[in-house]
Point group: C2
DNA sequence: TAACAATAGGCAATCGTTTGCCTAACTGGG
DNA sequence: CCCAGTTAGGCAAACGATTGCCTATTGTTA
């Protein structure tokens, strides 16, 4: 086991006491330290490779300088982008990130959250699992600063959140298809109970209210799910001229199926992807897609959490911010007007 | 600030002492606890939402149950895959992950490593920055378990590492091009001094030794870099029929340039990508690429680190494992034989 | 019935930092 | 020369969990 040197070791070498060393290192005002002592201490610190113990410090009520982040799918770039942009904000303020991938499994989420609390994290950024609302109850009860990202906590309302504009995603995508003359479109989405996600379909439906038909296919959250839904539509609704994919993984699978079925995207059929996975414009791809504002979501969540932690906002400050989205035009939608 | 309950609070409520509560919770053998006491304690723990403090425990020499992971580019799927697969291994053993993105900046790396030590992480998985070899010196001196991933620590040799087969990547890719009749190929790589990465070019060169010509373009590690290198080749070496891209980001930019230049990939020109970014087979893409064994690298590193931590291997156990790679054939290489 | 093992649980030191409370030496004004 | 302020730094009590060392019951056996 590794041996770390302690304040006492340093003090001994410098010929002083632990408290003095502590004061030197934390350079707190209100304590006078002579230049000579300061130098002796710094020399000893250096020679002994002293590294302070965060555990001991946090035991004395200091911040742990750890932020916990729980996301449901690490492999989804939407979340890694959130993490990257949040990290930039936290890093500047000296916080490290403990990151967990819940895999959308409420059991894992519960475990992880408890472990975060055991680590006494200073705050949490959480995209809750679909059915694990209860898991965050303790966090809220204890009053640990937390910002929820993307999905809501159903049945709860006094918490901070950076939301994505799910309804807007659908509406924006559908609007574009309408503009280009598509009367019969399909929305391939996730077969989930999370209201947040059903909103996307609703946005599409509302945009088409009285102006065309929308076929909604709710399938599994995976490449296969996307493919399956697409095949259903191709088979049962040959009148459909455009597909909106609610999630990037489904989109990937669905597009593969369309291609395999011999369709040329942007000509024989049209596609809009909700989200900005890297592949939308890699290689010969150039998909029209809805940018959910991934990075913005991350940095806003981080900033909100920091103000919660620093107490710079009132203790009962609760706010939900909806991130704006935008349409990025590619060549995957045919103009059939 | 959040108030956590302590062992003492629990003890008071259960009508016993902190030590008993501690023994109940850790269920250590060698201490007798009556069923009645056990129940009273558990009840109190429950009612008070007791959550143990990892800081306090680690102060007493317990493991912190944290593993630090440093990667140079979070946005690169190679690394997120490593993290995901490592996490699966660690999670089963009760470790949490503190993840940092060094952005290949030695200064950031140094900061992060220090912070990891301050957290007293039980072990580290590190892909060192290009020029920050010194940064890990302290880790090695202190004997903190560490596994290096992918890149080497130049000038150091007694450390554990899961390496990627850089030379093999180049050779494998070049071999495929040769097989299909390409005599003049280009390798677009990173303008770095890291031997590890130069090896890829060497693999390509060796494969072509006496059997054709290789143009090597070393550019920046970005989309733009890939594009730039590609344009040079198109301009100065019209005889080149195939491109090998050393890194996924360069590949993305380079391929975009090829397309913009009116080339149809797999017909007019050929491409092999080293690495497996998601886009290699998304949409209408189907690139021949070299699978570096990303996930395997992560899980092997995690397992090696765990055995280092548990001391199940001799203290001076040092081992370098090279992960095998494989070629995944797509349609991006034309057969010109 | 004395002696011993098994069962049950309290006491207090310890881990490494932080910080409030002292003391002590100097400096300078009156 | 005395007292107040400034400068410098030691002492020791926390923080919360762990664990070795006790003590005090029982139950068991010779």
């Amino acid at each position: 086991m590794a041996r770390y040197t302690t304040l006492k070791d340093v003090a001994e070498r410098a010929g002083t006491t632990a408290s003095t060393v502590s004061y030197v290192l934390s350079s707190k005002s209100g304590r006078y330290i002579s230049q000579a002592t300061r130098e002796k201490v710094m020399k000893a610190v250096d020679e002994l490779d002293y590294i302070k113990s965060n555990s001991a410090a946090s035991l004395k009520g200091k911040e742990v300088k750890l932020i916990g982040i729980l996301v449901p799918q690490f492999e989804n770039q939407f979340f890694t982008r959130i993490i990257v942009s949040a990290e930039k904000v936290f890093m500047k303020r000296g916080y490290d990130l403990v990151i967990c991938d819940t895999l959308d499994n409420p059991g894992r989420e519960k475990d992880f959250l408890r472990r975060m609390l055991e680590q006494r994290v200073d705050g949490l950024i959480v995209t809750p699992t679909v059915e694990g609302t209860e898991n965050t109850a303790l966090i809220r009860k204890l009053g640990i600063p937390m910002v929820v990202v993307d999905r809501p906590l159903p049945g709860v309302d006094d918490y901070c959140r950076i939301a994505t504009d799910n309804y807007g995603f659908g509406k924006l995508a559908a609007g574009e298809l309408q503009r280009l003359g598509h009367k019969n479109v399909a929305y391939i989405g996730w077969n989930t109970k999370v209201s947040d996600l059903l909103l996307r379909a609703e946005g599409v439906r509302d945009a088409y209210e009285g102006r065309g038909n929308v076929v909604v296919e709710a399938t599994g959250f995976s490449d296969e799910g996307g493919c399956e839904g697409t095949l259903h539509v191709l088979k049962d609704h040959p009148e459909v001229t455009a597909f909106i994919y609610g999630f990037n993984m489904q989109a990937k699978g669905g597009i593969r199926c369309l291609t395999d079925a011999g369709k040329v995207i942007g000509k024989d059929t049209s596609v809009i992807v909700i989200g900005s996975p890297e592949w939308v414009n890699a290689g010969s791809n150039d998909f029209t897609h809805v940018d959910m504002g991934d990075s913005e979501v991350g940095s806003k969540a981080a900033e909100m959490l920091l103000s919660l932690i620093s107490g710079s906002c009132s203790p009962d400050f609760k706010k939900q911010i909806v991130q704006e989205c935008s349409l990025v035009k590619g060549t995957s939608v045919a103009d059939i007007k």
